[in-house]
Every structure is written in C-alpha cells, then in structure tokens.
Amino acid sequence: MIFEYIDTSNTRKTISLDNKYNKEDGWYYLQTESKLEFIEKFIALYKSRQKIVLFDPKHKQLLDFYTQNNINEFMGIENLSLDTKLLFFTSGSSGFPVGAFKTKQNLENEVKSLCEVLSQRSIKKVIVTVPFVHIYGILVGLLLPLELRDITLVVKEDFLPYEIIEETKDGNCLVVTTPVFIKALAKLSENKPIENSLFISSTAPLSREDVVVFHEKYNCDVMQLFGSTETGGIAYKFNDNIIWKPLKGVDIATKDNKLNVVSPFVSEYLLTNCIQKIPQPYQTEDIVTIQEDGFILLGRSNKLIKIAGKRISALQIEKILEEIPEVTKAIVELVYKKELLRSEQIVITLETSQKIDKKVLKEKISEYYGVITIPFQVKYVDKINYSSMGKKVVFS
C-alpha cells in the first residue's frame, strides 16, 4: 500500500509507514490532532500488537477521565481476551461515553467480510474523507486498504466536493465517506462520470432520492454500511436497494420487531463503570422486518440520536438541560431536513424563566458529551406539561 497525504497547502506527499514501536504492557492512549499523525502512530502501534484506546481530540474530558482512572484497574478487565487490541468510544444513553473493546479477530473477520463484498471490483485507489477515531474510519478507511494491499491510500484533513471529483478522475477508486459528500456531489453542477468506482457511506441518513441523483449523475455506485461501534458492521446495500443484506458471518433475526444479531464482529465486552460482557444474540434498537435474505429498516425504537458514531439519548440531553437553573423543562427532538447536507438537526424546546444564550446550552451538553457538532435550534414555549401517558407536551 502506498500512502499519500495531501497537506493543507495542497502538497501531496508519499509517507513511509515503516515506523516501529516497542510494545508495552497496558493500553496506549492515542489522541492526535491530525489524520497524518494518527495513521503514522496507529500503524506502528497496531503492527506491534499494542493495545490502543482511541480518543476523539474533540472530547478532552474523556481522555482526562481515563487518565485519572486507569483502564487496567477497572473491575473485570482480567476477563478480556489476550487478543483484545482496540477500545473505541461511543456515547451511551447513560450520559457518559461507553467503550467497546475489539479483538484483532473481530477486526480481521470484518475486513475479510468487506473484502468479499468488494471482490468483483478493481480498486486502485482508496480516498478517505472520514476521521479515523471511529470504528468506521479504522475498519473501512485503514484496515481495509491495508488488506487490499496493491492500492494507493489518499488522505487529507478536509476535502471539498471538487477535490473528490479531481481525485477520482482516473477511475477504479473506493471513496470512504459519509452522506454529506454524496449529497454535496449530487448537488454540484459537475456531471462527469466517475468510472468503475464505489462510494462507501456510513449509516447516517442518506435519502433514496440523493442516492439516485448521485448514481445517475456520476454513473457510480454507492454502498451503505449499517452497524454500530458495539456491533461492528451488520449489513450493506447498494444504491437505492431497500433491503439490507447481512455481511458474511452475520446472522440476523428479530425479537419484538427489533433486529437481533449474532456476529463475529460484535464486541465481547463493553467498558462502562466496569467491564460488561455483551450477550449474543445482541439486540439492537432498530425496528426491522426480515425480507428475502436481508431486512428492511423501519426505524429506531427510542429517542436515540446517532451522529459520527456517537449515540446520544434525547431523554438524557433533556435531563442535562434541566440542570440549568433557568430551565424548567426541556424537550429534545431529532428532525430531518433533507435539503441540508447535515440533514439531522436537534430541536430543543424549552420552558424557562428567561432566555438562555445558545452557547450556554452547547457548553452544558459538551460537559457530558464533548463537542457536539450537530446543529441545533432552540424554541421557547410558555409551558411544557405531561400528557396522561407521561409524555411531555408543549402548550404555547
């Protein structure tokens, strides 16, 4: 694999990934400010079989917490398999990010399964627009290209849509990205075909309409990957297909209409205030109906907001906001605005004794979840009451 990094002045550099690291006992806390530094360090650590904890640089409180509370001292840590190599963080509904341990076997199995899906494609270049700190970035943006071997990996801190067009002009590319880029490219005035290439997108909402426009405009396929930090990849679908097909090795079923998964990619243990074993079948919060050899996703069973790998409970955000002295009651909802690139937005409805600066609200949420990049809108109402079912309702 050749690694090309495009720096902020647009200079392309070929970077050697031959750095060595002498494995140490315990966990290496990896937090970097740039993708270049991340890849250089991660590859050296991973090859040395070092155990690594991946910290989002936007979430300083998380690193502080685990600096003060050594992971090796958590109850149950001795139960982890010797093959456990990575710890990713998500945000649980409990109010503080939950860690998901992954073994080398978890990761290698999933990469092999993804390679099978891509086996009929001739990929010469992998372009990654996503950060590497989440499981999607590591698996699809880094471990998959390493497995594909005879390719060039192209990384840049931030791409603009026309830079993706330029980068893919020779065809045979795999673009590891998010719905933001697919929607943005679908809106550009450009319409040159992107030959023999594939865009892989994470599971944030991507409308059928955007996928159809993108596919027709560029004659290029889109593959969406469905899963979570805890489960790893579960299923995939191409273009406007509505049926999610499980990745090889993943067995699916339903219980109370919720998707149940038995998979070699699911974390065996989670890190909360102790080390917890995850039973399989793993029950997700996704409401599905099984069809043919896959499933149709109907929705989520509770008010969970998932952005960039973080899963946050709307109810928990409401409780946090109600800690602000001026806030009497809060309702937090996720709305979908398909005309925007970042189509998920939080709408916060407040009953307060006085108007509150938006920055104060953002800082309060950040105390618990780190920097929240999802945009939010604030509405003030005279009264929020509870319905007979115990649900909050607005009286304007």
């Binding site: 902020t8 002045s9 647009n10 840049k156 801190e157 931030d158 791409f159 603009l160 849509p161 026309y162 830079e163 330029e166 933001v180 880029f181 943005a184 809106k187 550009l188 005035s189 605005k337 925007l340 690139l341 970042r342 937005q345 938006k358 990049t373 945009p375 809108q377 604030v378």
Partner: protein
C-alpha cells in the same frame, strides 16, 4: 457587484443559521473556528454549494477556501473578483 449583506443573507439561509441576523455578522468576523460564527468543515462544503448555486462561482480546493472563507468580507471580494474575470 454583489453586496456583502447579500452574501451574509445567503450564508444564513444556505447554512440554516436560523437564530442569526445579518447585522450580527460583522464584515471581518471569522466564519470558521471557535471564535466568530463557529462554522466547521461540513459548513465549508455547504458554503461551496451555496456559492455555486447563488453566485455561480466555484471553489475547487481547500487551500484556497481557507483564505476565501476567512470572513464575509473576503468571501464577497472573491465572488466579485470571479464575476469580473
């Protein structure tokens, strides 16, 4: 000649900044980063689409974008320079 107020209005509309008024964006206020308007990399992508759709100008690389998107004043200057080419 595109006026700076028009550019600010399109930023607000295009990025759905519903709680910000045109006169709250100072001409030299930083558009990105923690100070100023606080836009981020996804907003940068959205802004390139707004510029193409509303003013017919393209921004093709991030290195140029960093200077062009510095403030609404620099953005307006870029739009007018491109239109006069």
């Amino acid at each position: 000649m595109v006026k700076i107020e028009e550019v600010k209005q399109k930023i607000i509309e295009g990025l759905n900044l519903e709680d910000i008024e045109v006169d709250e964006i100072e001409d030299d206020m930083a558009l990105f980063g923690d100070e100023g308007l606080g836009l981020d990399s996804v907003d940068a992508i959205e802004l390139t689409l707004v510029l193409e759709k509303e003013f017919g100008v393209k921004i093709t690389n991030m290195a140029d974008a960093e200077n062009i998107f510095a403030s609404s004043a620099s953005l307006t200057k870029y739009i007018n320079d491109e239109k006069n080419k």
